[in-house]
């Protein structure tokens, strides 16, 4: 069997699984899996660029995804004028002040002669600056958060179309990646991993605790949508008429219609990302990246600026994760900072990349769809399996209850087993790098 035949077959199998869900469960479920699969595929491509093509071990995916989500709020929500007048400018002033303090400390370090004086001066600037910053920043934050905390209590966004948030999410993630890459990319594999893991946690802590920016754990609900609301469709005479023309009841027609709308948008983004990534990889740029991944020392000796290239691909991959994060938050319709957990947003994406095939973008796409499908479907299948296993046991037996209650935990178990099986028997993934 040739490679392309095998790959087509693999995609066909995953497509078949999803279509089967459509027949056995519902087309809404199937379409939802497709939509999240598209987003997952984009995330997987982002990680694949970093890992598969540059060997960068980024375990901070969650942080970039969350920044994309933040972008959605900042771009699309309406501004809260009361909050702005309560302390908006002061908060921004405080942030600028904070940045200036760090710059001042940097200047002190670079200008003063090396020695105890320098350390003392830098420490004095930082410590004094910290209190100054807090003195400006804290009251403004308190003022903003006091504005109707149950409903707003934050600055809101810019009130722009939500689709704009996708590129903005990418840019925000790219900005963070630049900052992180500048400092942490010098570290080697495991250290980089833990450092990015830690940075992602810090980003989430900021999202969770800076209520003036994100409403924190109180969540931002009701983000605008790029597609119509189902209710509006159901209330539109024209739509209902068209639906009955198809022979579908309006509720179903509207839910499917909205999901298809998302599918089209997501597919466009995925196609764009995939095409750009493939073009880059099939050109001297991709060759250079592979050289760097194969042997950094030799690539450096052959005139390639490895540090700069690592930074570039780190930013690129993170930006893609940011875009996917913004898309996901748009689909969810809300920003829930406490929902960002490494297990779901970092490790699961890694499973997608490894299972799909690191170093191959189509592999990443396949992995994104397959793993997301399993993540969702293992739950009902697991329950069915447990019911089957326990069918012979007497009703109410402790073991039976225990097993059925534990069925929900099949999900993690399955992810682990799939990951290990693929790593063992097809270590380079289902669609390996050519």
């Amino acid at each position: 069997m040739t490679d392309s035949l095998k790959n087509t077959a693999l995609f066909a199998i995953v497509a078949g699984l999803i279509v089967m869900t459509g027949f056995t469960e519902s087309w809404n479920t199937a379409l939802f899996i497709v939509n999240m699969g598209l987003i997952s595929a984009i995330m997987a491509i982002g990680v694949n660029l970093q890992w598969g093509f540059a060997g960068l071990f980024n375990v901070g995916v969650m942080g970039f995804v969350a920044l994309g989500g933040l972008a959605t709020v900042l771009v699309s929500m309406d501004p809260v004028p009361e909050a702005w007048s309560a302390g908006g400018l002061q908060v921004i002033g405080g942030l600028i002040l904070g940045a200036l303090i760090i710059v001042a400390a940097g200047v002190a370090v670079s200008r003063l002669p090396k020695g105890r004086m320098r350390s003392l001066a830098a420490a004095a600037i930082l410590i004094g600056g910290f209190f100054l910053y807090r003195a400006v920043f804290d009251p403004a934050v308190a003022a903003i958060e006091a504005v109707d905390p149950a409903a707003t209590g934050y600055l809101g966004g810019l009130g722009l179309p939500v689709l704009l948030a996708w590129p903005v999410g990418g840019l925000m993630a790219a900005g963070a990646a630049w900052l992180i890459g500048k400092t942490a990319l010098g570290l080697r594999s495991d250290y980089l991993a833990i450092a990015t893991l830690g940075i992602a946690e810090i980003i989430i802590y900021i999202l969770k605790n800076e209520d003036w920016l994100t409403r924190g754990v109180k969540n931002v609900n009701g983000l605008p949508r790029p597609v119509p609301y189902e209710i509006d469709l159901q209330n539109s005479a024209q739509f209902v008429e068209r639906a009955s023309g198809w022979g579908v009841d309006p509720v179903t027609a509207s839910t499917i219609y909205v999901k298809l709308g998302y599918s089209v948008l997501f597919t466009v983004v995925l196609a764009l990302v995939l095409i750009l990534a493939q073009l880059a990889l099939k050109s001297p740029w991709g060759r250079m990246m592979r050289a760097i991944r194969d042997n950094e020392v030799a690539a450096e000796a052959m005139g390639k600026n490895v540090t700069a290239r690592h930074l570039q691909v780190f930013i690129l991959g993170s930006a893609i994760c940011g875009i996917a994060g913004a898309m996901m938050t748009t689909l969810d319709g809300q920003l829930t900072p406490s929902s960002y957990q490494p297990l779901r947003f970092t490790f699961l994406v890694w499973v997608m990349v490894i299972v799909g095939g690191s170093g191959n973008n189509f592999g990443a796409v396949l992995g994104g769809f397959l793993i997301w499908f399993l993540w969702v479907q293992v739950e009902p299948y697991g329950l069915a399996l447990m019911n089957l296993i326990t069918a012979g046991m007497p009703e109410g037996s402790a073991l039976k209850t225990h097993l059925i209650d534990s069925a929900a935990h099949m999900r993690l178990l399955t992810m682990g087993v799939v990951l290990l099986l693929v790593l063992r028997f097809s270590p380079r993934g289902l669609i390996p790098e050519k």
Partner: protein, 260 residues
């Protein structure tokens, strides 16, 4: 061409290079010999920018190049090979060569999306050049083989070939003969001599095979315990008493240290 001035490189208390000074004439093939642990490779790595010297200065044609990163040195025309071949294993031999030239327009992301035509033209020229080099090295039959799967000697040739993809001014060869059979070593030696004559490459060669050194190198520099002991033709070096003692003495001393 290259002047090394009082380079020290210490690892903790261990002085790998201990005040080495030497100069390399343009157009020469300089051999660098010395017992194991003499600091040859460390000095190489300091010159090539892989390691920062503890103190000292390296200049190239009068410019201070101390501590410049390897990719900057590459663009100044200073290239190197490695003791253990550093091929790009998942790429074909041809690709190993094609990646070398700097400032390819296809290395800019923007061009990969919007400058396809220019890239295609450049690639054609690069490919032709790479095939030329492979032919020069008599390994044209390996063009499409993965570099990770060819023999050790062929990898060494490939590394030498990489230096031919650009106009190098000086090439450092680190134990080019290690693990290479006699026939292939002769091929490498021939290639070095030809490059030196035809393209006026300057070479610095670390090697243990004295026959090989004798055949291609002049002058020869001998190092021991991080210092330069002597410089001259191979015969002069072989006759130098300090050198003889160093080869015998440090050999023993090193063994004791290893045993401790």
């Amino acid at each position: 061409m290259i002047v090394v001035d009082e380079i020290h490189k210490h690892f903790g208390g261990f002085r790998a290079v201990d005040g080495a000074s030497l100069s390399i004439e343009e157009g020469s093939i300089t051999g660098l010999i010395g017992p194991n642990g003499a600091g040859k490779t460390t000095l190489f790595n300091v010159i090539a920018g892989v390691l920062q010297p503890t103190s000292g200065r390296v200049t190239m044609a009068g410019d201070d190049i101390t501590g410049l990163p390897p990719h900057d040195l590459f663009h100044k025309g200073l290239l190197r090979t490695f003791q253990i071949a550093h091929e790009f294993s998942s790429m074909s031999c041809r690709e190993n060569l094609m990646m070398v030239p700097g400032n390819q327009s296809g290395e800019t992301l923007w061009n990969t999306w919007f400058g396809r035509k220019r890239i295609a033209d450049e690639e054609r020229a690069l490919r032709a050049k790479a095939d030329e080099v492979l032919e020069f090295l008599t390994i044209e039959h390996l063009a499409d083989h993965k570099a990770g799967q060819v023999s050790g000697g062929q990898k060494k040739l490939l590394e030498l070939g990489r230096t031919m993809m650009v106009d190098a001014r000086i090439v450092f060869l680190d134990e080019v003969g290690a693990g290479v059979n006699r026939t292939l070593l002769n091929t490498i030696g021939d290639a070095i001599l030809r490059l030196n004559k035809e393209r006026n490459y300057t070479f610095v060669v670390i090697e243990h095979d004295m026959d090989f050194i004798g055949k291609i190198c002049d002058p020869v520099i001998c190092m021991a315990e991080g210092k330069v002991l002597a410089q001259g033709t191979l015969d002069e070096i072989k006759a130098n008493e300090q050198v003889i003692e160093a080869y015998l003495g440090t050999g023993l001393k090193n063994k004791e240290q290893v045993g401790a």
